[in-house]
């Protein structure tokens, strides 16, 4: 006899909300806009994810954490996580909750606009000042830049804008 277990998409999404970025404990993979699709067949779950950056070394860790978290959902027997490049991940996929989470961690959310020469502006995540300078467009991870706030004298990071216009 074959017995199917009903796994609800809502339960899967709630579980995914608990998978944090390995380096930023205040945002989840859902907040970052990395989840592209969830498919459920009986007790089998397949999740499609989008890498933020192609060379990001955290992808395998994230994948492992997603598998572990989904396996703990009642009724789930098998989990598959696939990374896809289409649609490409863009920084506007970060949700409002994600933007708040980044700020709470001291990382400015990605700017919504940038000019043709690639320049862009963010405010200081600590004091909100606009009086900031860009130290390095490249940062400690592929997705971040290093900035400095001239008002509160704090160095801080920002998520790099990544868009279809590039």
């Amino acid at each position: 006899m074959y017995q199917s277990t009903l796994v609800a998409e809502k339960d899967i999404m709630e579980a995914l909300e608990l998978v944090q970025d390995p380096e930023i404990s205040t945002v989840s993979v859902v907040d970052l806009g990395m989840i592209e699709g969830v498919k459920i067949h009986d007790s089998y779950v397949s999740i499609t994810m989008l890498p933020t950056f192609l060379g990001c070394p955290a992808l395998e860790i994230i994948k492992k954490n997603v598998v572990e978290q989904i396996q703990s959902v009642a009724g789930v027997e098998a989990v598959e996580v696939l990374f896809k490049t289409a649609p490409p991940w863009t920084s506007d996929r970060i949700t409002e909750k994600g933007q708040k989470g980044l700020k709470a961690f001291g990382i400015a959310p990605p700017p919504k606009h940038f000019t043709e020469d690639g320049s862009w502006h963010v405010d200081c995540p600590y004091c909100g000042s606009t009086y900031v300078t860009l130290d390095n467009i490249f940062g400690p991870t592929a997705c971040r830049s290093i900035l400095y706030c001239k008002s509160c004298k704090n160095p801080f990071e920002a998520m790099k804008p990544i868009s279809n216009l590039m």
């Binding site: 060379g55 390095n136 490249f138």
Partner: protein, 269 residues
């Protein structure tokens, strides 16, 4: 019209694999050379920036090797580490050593050479990737779209170094001009497709190399004009990496980079 791997004829698949090997090996070798600069760049912010670019570039190589894995050409790690110099399809430019000395001992690497090589290569990569967005092989078009977003920042970075050093002191200009000469001496095969030009065209994988070369020259001309230096012209290659013709510098690179892999190729890492 887009195609998928299942419907492909053997000739079509072979042409696609040839292109993927050229793209993958180029990015793989250049990112390896970039990694040798780690801890040696002129200042700490540049160390962060150039190593981040190398990491992105290694990620791009991984995507191309991944497409080859999907086509049945072997596993990503084996393709990256297990192939001999003769099997490599990268251009001569990316296999060249960073300068005199060995990075574990007393490296005397040349930053001017690093800047010119990275800028000219990145511009060539941009021209190719823009063309690949329209390739008939959809999975490659998707990878190209994503790569070009990351490349946007690499391009700005190297162009900034290039224009700043060439607008700087006499010594900087002299060293940069020498570096341009050195880079251009190896640039002949960057836009070469080896023996595959005809098949790339037949299956509409990428535009003609002559067209891409012109785009590269035109884009660079705008930049160098403002710096009052002559436009670099791409010469015919003496040696063509796309045909598996390489230098001893590639042998040395492969022997170093595959050292751990060769200890036990079955171990995933």
């Amino acid at each position: 019209m887009s195609t998928n791997a299942v419907e492909m004829t053997p000739a079509h698949k072979e042409a696609l694999a040839e292109l993927l090997f050229q793209l993958a090996d180029d990015d793989f070798l250049l990112s390896y050379r970039g990694s040798e600069w780690l801890g040696l760049a002129p200042h700490i912010e540049e160390d962060v920036a150039s190593s981040s670019i190398s990491q992105d570039t290694m990620g791009h190589a991984k995507m191309y090797y991944g497409l080859l894995e999907e086509l049945g050409y072997g596993k990503i790690d084996d393709l990256a580490h297990g192939r001999s110099a003769k099997e490599r399809k990268n251009s001569i430019l990316v296999e060249r050593e960073n300068g005199a000395g060995y990075y574990m001992e007393t490296p005397r690497y040349d930053w001017a050479y690093a800047v010119v090589r990275n800028y000219f290569y990145t511009l060539a990569k941009k021209v190719k990737v823009d063309s690949l967005k329209k390739t008939t092989y959809q999975p490659l078009a998707e990878v190209a779209t994503k790569v070009s977003m990351e490349l946007f920042y690499h391009h700005i970075h190297w162009r900034t170094w290039f224009t700043q050093l060439l607008s700087s002191s006499d010594e900087a200009k002299e060293r940069m001009n020498k570096a341009i000469e050195g880079v251009m001496a190896d640039f002949g095969d960057v836009f070469s497709y080896g023996n595959a030009s005809q098949s790339f065209k037949e299956f509409a994988l990428i535009e003609d190399a002559t067209v891409l070369k012109q785009r590269w020259e035109a884009a660079l001309e705008e930049v160098v004009k403002a710096l009052h230096i002559e436009s670099p012209i791409i010469q015919q290659p003496d040696r063509n990496g796309r045909l598996g013709e390489h230098t001893e510098e590639l042998d040395r690179a492969l022997s170093t980079l595959s050292e751990v892999y060769r200890l036990n190729p079955a171990v995933p890492w």
